[in-house]
Amino acid sequence: MTAPAFPGLSYARDVAALARKDLLLELRSRDTLPAMLLFVVSTLVIFHFALPAGSSDVAAAGLLWVALVFTALLGLTRAFVAEREQRLLDGLVLAPCDRSAIWLAKALSIVAFLLLAEAVALPAFALFFDPVTAPMVAGIILADLGIAAVGTLLAAMAVASRARELLLPLLFLPLAIPIIVGGVGASVADDPGRYLGFLGLYDAVFAILSWATFEYVVTE
């Protein structure tokens, strides 16, 4: 075995190898991302019909965040599907690499998917409802990090369960509440900085927690 020059470098290499695998898989199967895109646009259309006349513009921004969280949930449910169906997580866990590298690689690929989905959702939102503001975009990026961090860990938990797709929304939604608050606040409040800071705090805290505890979720 080759010894790494710095320990961090081999960790980064592991993450890169795993992330490349995740992105390659999605490119090949091409089902999750189109589904997310279609889902988010359909949801926005539904929201038009769901908002009664006289609803404020601000309500639309709130609903955008609902759409984003549920679209993310859709993507997260598929995150470990190959690993679950073919017991592939065993293969990855057996490898000598740090298990948290699996988490990091998967979370990074989820962030990529979310950004792609939002690249479509935001123009659609701007078209159907209101223009998109810079703090809103910043909020979305920060929220993506938090969603991916927490969602990846919870998706790994759902892999081991009997309830599968049922379980992930139940585990995820309470943890998504602060993200919604941060995101909507960044989108509509007068002082978005506070909310962006809060999202940053959420990301930092939960990313560290997820990174540190992932090992325990996939091993015994």
Binding site: R162, A163, V181, V188, F206, L209, Y216, T219
Partner: protein, 230 residues
């Protein structure tokens, strides 16, 4: 290392809890002078807040045991963590109920989004219900123990983060914040009553915890013996 006590200590704990609670309730309803502004309904404060604080303590204790489980990789902590969370949820439900009653008697509504503590408990209630769903849907074993422990840690971290979120949310949700005619500072007798009630609820939670643990460990032991004989 474990939370189980000898049986006479457990009985003592239960007796202490009973005494403190009974005493605390008596103090709350008969001894402490009526709050001049709020009136009789203020007395529910002596139940509601201790119950809420006890729920936090249970979640914290559950998270501590969870941390020990992950640290030491010792599965005995799983049962302790689980029962602590379990009792925390019971107290959480009580918090929601007493809070709702208090809201009803104060303002005529059963729920108020302006009540931060109440909203926080609602979020936590959802979270810990999911904790039970998680446990229910995974086979008992080392994996379930570890996943529950990780989730319990997430829960305890969620408490301050959610509280912050609820405060921040008020700026754009603008919930109807009812005000209470509160007598701001606790007088000596009020503080004493509160102290006794809090000690009572904590003792009750501890007694329930110990009792449930003993029962479950006994079940485990019984099962082991049955299998050894089979």
């Amino acid at each position: 290392m474990t939370s189980s006590l000898r049986s006479n200590q457990a009985v003592l704990l239960a007796a202490a809890a009973f005494a403190l609670l009974l005493g605390g309730l008596a103090l709350a309803f008969y001894w402490v002078p009526q709050a001049p502004l709020e009136g009789f309904r203020q007395r529910i404060f002596y139940i509601h807040v201790p119950v809420a604080l006890t729920a936090y303590a249970c979640f914290g204790w559950g998270a501590w045991k969870a941390l020990r489980l992950l640290w030491k990789r010792d599965r005995r902590y799983d049962l302790e963590s689980y029962t602590a969370v379990h009792i925390g949820v019971i107290f959480g439900i009580l918090t929601l109920v007493t809070g709702s009653i208090w809201a009803r008697t104060s303002w005529g509504v059963w729920w108020s989004w302006g009540e931060r503590q109440l909203v926080l408990f609602l979020v936590l209630f959802l979270f810990y219900c999911a904790y039970f769903m998680l446990r229910y849907s995974v086979e008992p074993g080392p994996r379930r123990a570890q996943m529950s422990a990780v989730y319990a840690l997430f829960g305890v971290v969620l408490i301050p983060i959610s509280f912050l979120a609820i405060r921040l949310a008020e700026n754009f949700i603008h919930p109807v914040v009812f005000s209470r005619d509160v007598d701001e500072n606790l007088t000596g007798s009020q503080a004493a009553t509160f102290g006794v009630c809090l000690a009572g609820t904590l003792a009750l939670a501890a007694a329930l915890h110990v009792n449930e643990l003993r029962g479950k460990r006994l079940d485990e032991r019984l099962r082991e013996l049955r299998e050894a004989l089979a």
